[in-house]
């Protein structure tokens, strides 16, 4: 592509044609404040925070949408620019509730940070405020329109990434509000509770439903036996809550922190991920051999499950009947584990540390009680877990590295990669190959299903049997695949779908910020975890083998069906 040269604040910058002034400035190390801008997703020039002077144009221009051209002369720090940005921010602040000390985004809020950066010490415009009701109708997401600055990032993510648009701007002028159709509670619309909007909201207007206090209460109750499981993707992200570089592997520190919070024992969802592979892999083989419904589609991601229930209820019989690893863990914990340690399951409290807001919804689905109790009691997102550690006054940096407890803390590398898009597929292939062919798989890495590409396809050779697979992440990509399946354009045998971009490592409950750059680093860390595990195939997990020997019998046994499989519920589209 052709290069153009422009000057910004007297500095010459060379950049490809088609770039914006904002990109050019960033390249030159010049900082322009932004608010509504979200790379590749929300580039609408709405908030006017990023204005600059462009020589030859009368009005100030929004740098995030203004295209570069040869000889362009831009000034980013003039009295006019400063005054305009100030006024823009003061207007936003004039109808904003000043609740920083009690706000969930205190110290991680873009509005607050900008007010500090621009040195706003007084707001000169009188504000008119509409009072809105806070929507806490779902177990996952809270929406507080009082703090909304109408940047529309949530709308863009929900529409473009998830293909849903559960929220959108309504009304006009002073009455503008970002909300659902007919201003219904979130629980009554087809929001899938993925939480992607909570990742991109610059302020405290969209956030996870906080369950920390319930967990503290359980931990303080001497009558309760409180155990914890940690999702595959949390070990490569939780460090970010404490200022560590994205992509830092913090498994050992996380285990140590959980012990100090009072969880005992500390178990791992990776164990249940291995278990899932045995059940789901067997289900795939069974459907392949006995002419069952194909393609089989994975069922680990609760946002994805809610999506297919709302938008493609006619395809529900393609879903694997396997519960997600989190729910398999809960069911096993309150039966097998309870028996093993001789604890009354009514006294066991299962807490999950998850990258996901939709998991909070999943654990409360009425069918998730096959142990006779609610299988998983509370779900904390990575963010909530991080806050809990801070509340407890634990110094993250000086924590030692500790190991998970036996037996539900034993896992393989295959369980670990569940945290990345393509990981469930790769884990399943590693096991299914050996089960089908009876041979040892030499090359464990299925690179064709790794990476951030939206839809990945591969044909895998099982000793003559050609297995066609596909992997999609984000629900707009899920839509594309499902439409092709419906139209009969593709003949896959097995499809993996995860709701969030990048898979769970980019989940809606992960640390803020989460963006493409950070997702890549987390992904590299996940495959690093896998590489370093002594065992990397789920069916080699000794604790899973023991579970089958002592308790379940074999995959897809009667008991497995009772505890580890589930069914789905069609839901309305609107």
């Amino acid at each position: 592509m052709a290069l153009v040269t422009l000057t910004i604040d007297g500095k010459k910058v060379e950049i490809e044609e088609g770039a914006t002034v904002l990109e050019a400035a960033r390249k030159a190390g010049i900082d322009i404040p932004t608010l509504c801008f979200l790379e590749d997703i929300n580039e609408i020039g709405a908030c006017r925070m990023c204005v600059v002077e462009v020589k030859g144009t009368k009005a100030l221009q929004a740098a995030c949408v203004y295209p570069v051209s040869n000889g362009l002369e831009v000034h980013t720090n003039t009295p006019l620019v400063r005054a305009s940005r100030r006024l823009t921010l003061e207007l936003l602040l004039s109808n904003h509730p000043y609740e920083c000390p009690t706000c969930i985004r205190n110290l991680n809020c873009e509005l607050q940070a900008l007010a500090e950066k621009l040195g706003i010490r007084e707001v000169r415009v009188p504000g008119i405020r509409e009072e809105f009701k806070v929507d806490d109708s779902t177990p996952s997401i809270v929406r507080d329109p009082n703090k909304c600055i109408l940047c529309r990032r949530c709308v863009a993510v929900c529409e473009q990434i998830q293909g849903i648009k559960a929220v959108a701007p309504m009304n006009r002028g002073f009455k503008s509000v970002v909300t659902t159709a007919f201003q219904q509670p979130m629980a009554d619309v087809s929001c899938v509770l993925c939480g992607q909007c909570t990742l991109v909201c610059p302020v405290g207007a969209l956030y996870e439903h906080d369950d920390i206090d319930k967990v503290w209460k359980a931990l303080a109750d001497p009558d309760k036996h409180v155990i914890v499981q940690t999702a595959p993707a949390t070990r490569v992200t939780v460090g970010e809550m404490f200022g560590m570089e994205p992509g830092t592997i913090s498994t050992g520190k996380m285990v140590a922190a959980l012990r100090r919070l009072g969880f005992n024992p500390v178990f791992d969802t990776d164990f249940a991920a291995d278990l899932t592979i045995l059940e789901e892999g067997s289900e795939l083989i069974e459907r392949l051999e006995h002419g069952g419904k194909l393609p089989l589609i994975t069922s680990c991601s609760p946002g994805w499950i809610k999506f297919i229930e709302h938008f493609y209820p006619d395809l529900l019989d393609h879903l694997s009947t396997c519960k997600s690893p989190q729910q398999m863990f809960g069911a096993i914990a309150k039966t097998y584990y309870a028996q093993k340690v001789g604890v009354d399951p009514s006294k066991i409290v299962v807490v999950s540390i998850m990258p996901c807001t939709a998991k909070k919804f999943e654990c409360r689905r009425p069918e998730m009680n096959s142990s006779g109790f609610q299988d998983v009691d509370y779900v904390l997102t990575t963010r909530e877990f991080g806050r809990m550690v801070k509340q407890a006054g634990i110094d993250w940096n000086s924590l030692p590295e500790e190991e998970y407890d036996d037996p539900l803390g034993v896992s393989t590398g295959a369980g670990a990669i569940f945290g990345a898009t393509g990981g469930v597929m790769e884990a399943a292939l590693r096991t299914a190959y050996e089960l089908v062919t009876g041979k040892t798989l030499e090359r464990l890495d299925y690179n064709e299903v790794r990476g951030l590409e939206g839809i990945k396809e591969a044909t895998v050779d099982f000793d003559g049997l050609q297995v066609k697979v596909a992997v999609a992440h984000t629900l707009s990509n899920a839509r594309k695949i499902l439409d092709r399946v419906k139209a009969g354009e593709v003949n896959y045998h097995f499809i993996e779908i995860m709701a969030c971009p990048g898979g769970c490592l980019g989940g809606g409950g992960q640390p803020i910020p989460t963006n493409t750059e950070i997702r890549k680093k987390r992904m590299a860390a996940i495959y690093e975890v896998d590489k370093n595990m002594p065992l990397r195939k789920s069916h080699e997990n000794p604790a899973v083998k023991m579970l089958y020997e002592e308790f379940l019998g074999k995959p897809l046994s009667h008991k497995s069906h009772e505890l580890l499989h589930t069914h789905y519920t069609p839901r309305p589209k609107y």
Partner: protein, 159 residues
């Protein structure tokens, strides 16, 4: 609530047929909403859902459009349509206070209809009765020289 069972199956049939002609065509959104508004005097929720379904667009797009343009309304006009003049003469002689009192008594904002479907409240430019300002009209009746305190009295006449 608000949306009584419509004695207007005909209208639903007509609009459904119109919508059916535009299956999958996003650009038909505004024309279809205009047609609905003309036909019903408002845009019923059921029709909005139908439009979203048939055009294959999110319901938020339909509802967002309806609430963006003042041409569309979400509720049918009430049994009693109260029009408060806020033209210059009425404004100077206290119309805003009268409007405010109506809003308070009815528990709705101007432009809205009470949930029982009885009263709609509208603010209009000029009713052409400046000599009698502030003026309001309830359906066809004119009430002149309004004061906030006269509002409950007026409402009592329309039950």
């Amino acid at each position: 609530m608000g949306e009584q069972a419509c004695a207007c199956e005909e209208k639903y049939k007509e609009i459904e047929e119109a919508i059916g002609e535009y299956k999958g065509d996003r650009s038909a959104l505004i024309p279809l909403l205009q047609k609905t508004q003309r036909l019903f005097g408002y845009v019923p929720r059921a029709v909005q859902v139908k439009i979203a379904e048939e055009l294959g667009i999110p319901l938020t797009d339909v509802y967002g459009t309806v609430t963006f343009y003042s041409f569309f309304s979400l509720k049918p006009k009430g049994k009693y349509n109260i029009q408060c003049c806020n033209g210059t003469a009425c404004y100077v002689r206290g119309a805003p206070k009268v409007i405010e009192r109506f809003e308070k008594e009815l528990g709705i904002k101007a432009g809205d209809t009470t949930d029982d479907g009885k009263y709609s409240l509208q603010v209009v430019r000029c009713l052409g009765a400046c000599g009698l300002s502030p003026t309001i009209m309830v359906n066809q009746d004119t009430h002149a020289r309004m004061k906030p305190d006269k509002v409950p009295e007026v409402l009592k006449k329309y039950v």
